[in-house]
């Protein structure tokens, strides 16, 4: 089977986590217990205090903490090659590990765009050298991301492509979209779609609505997203293809995805933490860290996306981690680059704003944060004997201020900067290796 995730070599972990609250939403695990990881694999699960560590094991006191399946992000920007001043494979995967993620999928809107097998092979080597957690790659649907000609999809799949996307741009031509769906029959792999009709969104920098009207800023209407989802769902149904809708932001889009699912179309969808937590009201002060595409929309849209996440119309959470250099954000709003970072804040911000107030169950949040692996036909992180160790230890009580100690990411453009959140990742195991240890925790554990 073709390998599709790549990471730097690291020693396989042997760790005993004792007394943590174990929670695996896909199993019936929800209570205190011990987990012994031996040589990177979950070897035993037992009652609290019931397991003994082999002499070589690291002992981690999990009392008062939660051990969860680690998260998987199907949508991040690592900026390599070409934009390493914003982020690179090492800093991006460090940020992922610090956020509790055991895997991420890098988008191809790099410089040059990831649109050929030789480039993909080079990136695999970069990941094998620098990646702290396994990284998968999604090359472009169209050559040069120009929306005119398909990439060599079969060759790219053989070289390890997880799927295909022109993320950052829509596939404007319905003819090209149809051809990509036809080629999908040969090579498989999900087509992940940034849905936007540029004829409706051109010149826009934020959601079209009352706030944009007041500010005089060009709007990106909800229908620029929802009409393209409806189009692509129709194309996918016609060709029997499979599509994944990225960063659903509007209630009309939720309706379009739900309708396609009800009709039996092979369609999945993701939502980003910022669309689940923020609205266009949060852009009133023109904070460029809150400029993203698709834009933050209204409270009605936000509630619809939350409802869709609860009901399963939206399958998974994806951060759309989009690091930018200060120079790209320290400019007037309309000139600023689109995007917010997200890997280091995803769990904590969602736990604080959705789980603590009772809007979303912890189990569903944890499940949605790793469901992206299933969407991409990858092994889903589990806490069960025999599984590779993909888990994270979190102190739900610990609160911290976003940005107070800087970021693991090279970028600082977090839409949540300055907010106080609960839930701190203390330890992340990814593919059997220790990918992250919170510094203070590492000291006290020693």
């Amino acid at each position: 089977m073709t390998q599709r995730l790549f990471r730097a070599p690291a020693p396989e972990a042997t760790v005993l986590v004792s007394g943590a609250h174990l929670l695996d939403p896909r199993g019936d695990l929800d209570g205190p217990g011990d987990v012994l990881i031996r040589a990177g694999v979950i070897a035993e699960i037992g009652a609290p205090g019931g397991l003994t560590a082999p002499p070589e094991a690291e002992r981690v006191n999990g009392t008062g903490r939660h051990l969860l399946p680690a998260f998987f992000d199907p949508h991040v920007h690592l900026r390599a090659p070409g934009q390493e001043h914003k982020e690179d494979v090492e800093t991006g995967t460090r940020a992922a590990a610090a956020g509790g993620f055991c895997g991420v999928v890098a988008m191809p809107n790099t410089d040059p765009p990831l649109d050929s097998a030789p480039l993909l092979l080079a990136l695999r080597e970069t990941a094998r050298r620098d990646a702290r957690v396994p990284v998968g790659f999604m090359p472009c649907i169209s050559r040069g991301m120009e929306g005119e000609q398909l990439t060599d999809m079969v060759e790219l799949r053989e070289a390890g492509a997880l799927g295909f996307t022109d993320d950052g741009r829509p596939v404007v031509s319905s003819g090209l979209m149809r051809k990509a769906l036809q080629y999908q029959r040969l090579c498989g792999g999900v087509l992940a779609l940034h849905e936007e009709d540029p004829a409706l969104s051109a010149g826009g920098s934020m959601h079209e609505g009352e706030v944009s009207a007041r500010l005089g800023i060009g709007g990106i209407p909800s229908i620029s997203e929802s009409t393209m989802i409806a189009r692509d769902a129709a194309l996918a149904a016609y060709e029997g293809g499979r599509i994944h809708i990225q960063h659903v932001s509007a209630w009309e889009s939720v309706t379009a995805v739900a309708a396609a699912k009800a009709a039996g179309t092979q369609i999945t969808a993701e939502a980003s933490p910022h669309h689940l937590l923020l609205t266009d009201e949060d852009v009133r002060e023109l904070d460029t860290r809150r400029k993203m595409n698709p834009p933050l929309r209204t409270e009605r849209d936000r509630q619809a996306v939350i409802d869709a996440l609860r009901s399963g119309v939206i399958d998974c959470i994806a951060t759309d981690h989009a690091p930018h250099h200060r120079d790209d954000k320290d400019v007037p709003f309309e000139q600023a680059a689109f995007g917010t970072t997200g890997l280091e804040t995803a769990f904590s911000s969602l736990y604080t704003e959705l789980v603590l107030p009772g809007v979303l169950g912890l189990a569903r949040l944890v499940q949605a944060l790793s469901e992206g692996a299933r969407v991409l036909d990858l092994t889903v992180p589990r806490i069960e004997v025999g599984a590779a160790a993909n888990c994270c230890l979190i102190d739900l009580q610990a609160s911290w201020q976003v940005g107070e100690a800087g970021y693991e990411s090279r970028a600082e453009n977090s839409a949540f900067a300055g907010s106080t959140v609960s839930g701190r990742v203390l330890l992340t195991l990814a593919d059997g290796i220790v990918a992250y240890r919170e510094r203070a925790f590492a000291l006290t554990a020693a």
Partner: protein, 318 residues
């Protein structure tokens, strides 16, 4: 108040205070020596990233009538053309120790950004399609001189509201002073959600007669190329303000420059009910009042050598 970035920075008493002070400065403009020493030694920098005739020249004249020094910085012919960022340009100009930066930019929020980067008072002289607060103040001044009060007056703003910073600032200012404001234009040029500013929306001029004041907006040719309206002819047929659409009691305003034969017919531009040149005159005294409001009584900037004892809130008339 340190900066004037939006009409929302001003409450009704502040607007009325500025208007009253502008009226007292109007007396100065009638004198043989049209200068007062109120801001002697202060430095006002005009930072203009967009072409402007009346706004820039009236700010310059206003500052000079208050005896301030003026530095004009236009983006063309400057290091901006060599790629200098707004932030770096502001840092450079701030090194001269200006007391006020007057900022005109094609970017929404530019003046607010600048305010975060400098010690100087910042005046928004137009930021993209967002706001143009001093234009709104001079329009308020012009109307108050003529009508005494805006309470329960009906004002129609007609034309390209979508791209108009003047419309946004004026809706805010007129409603703060008790007027009822209607914005009117083709649906392609009325932004969705504009009602949230506190105005009514109409798509035709059928009830224009209810207006005490008709405020026509400039139709920009570049909007034609983007096909916001089918043709200038079609636009003029539906929305041009001419003598046949106005009644003699209605006042007509326009922020200039006028496209004769597009948004306004020539017959009304030159009529007695048009306040267009009065607005231009008001520009100078209102901008004097704004500069005075922000600078008089504040500590002088590091580069200035001015009258530090001036703390009175009344203009020092020479």
């Amino acid at each position: 108040m340190k900066n004037l970035l939006s009409i929302n920075d001003l409450d009704r008493p502040a607007i009325e205070r500025i208007v009253q002070r502008a009226a007292s400065f109007a007396e100065v403009s009638d004198r043989e020596i049209k200068k007062v020493p109120a801001l002697r030694g202060r430095l006002v920098v005009n930072l203009f990233y967009e072409a402007s005739t009346r706004t820039r020249s009236s700010f310059e004249l206003a500052a000079k009538r208050l005896s301030a020094d003026v530095l004009n910085f236009a983006a063309s012919g400057s290091s901006v053309e060599k790629g200098e960022s707004l932030r770096d340009t502001v840092a450079t100009l701030s090194a001269y120790g200006p007391d006020a930066l007057v900022v005109r930019s094609p970017d929404v929020g530019a003046a607010a950004l600048v305010a975060g980067w400098t010690q100087a008072a910042v005046i928004n002289a137009g930021d993209g399609t967002h706001e143009h607060p001093t234009q709104a103040l001079l329009d308020v001044y012009t109307l108050l001189q003529r009508l005494g009060s805006l309470e329960d007056r009906t004002i129609w703003i007609v034309g390209d509201v979508l791209h108009s910073r003047v419309a946004r600032s004026n809706v805010l200012a007129f409603t703060k002073l008790g007027a009822r404001v209607t914005v009117c234009g083709p649906p392609t040029l009325i932004p969705r959600g504009i009602e949230s500013l506190g105005c009514t929306v109409r798509y035709d001029l059928d009830d224009l007669r209810e207006a005490d004041v008709v405020y026509a907006l400039r139709m920009q040719n570049e909007r034609m190329r983007s096909a916001f309206v089918p043709s200038l002819r079609e636009y003029a047929a539906g929305y041009q303000i001419g003598a046949r659409r106005l009644t003699p009691r209605q006042l007509l305003m326009h922020p200039g420059p006028v496209n004769r034969g597009v948004e306004l017919a020539s017959d009304v531009v030159d009529s007695a009910q048009a306040l267009i040149t009065t607005q231009v005159q008001a520009g100078v005294v209102v901008r004097m009042a704004v500069l005075y409001e922000l600078l008089a009584g504040t500590r002088s900037g590091p580069g200035a050598h001015g009258d530090r004892s001036l703390t009175s809130t009344e203009p020092q008339l020479a």
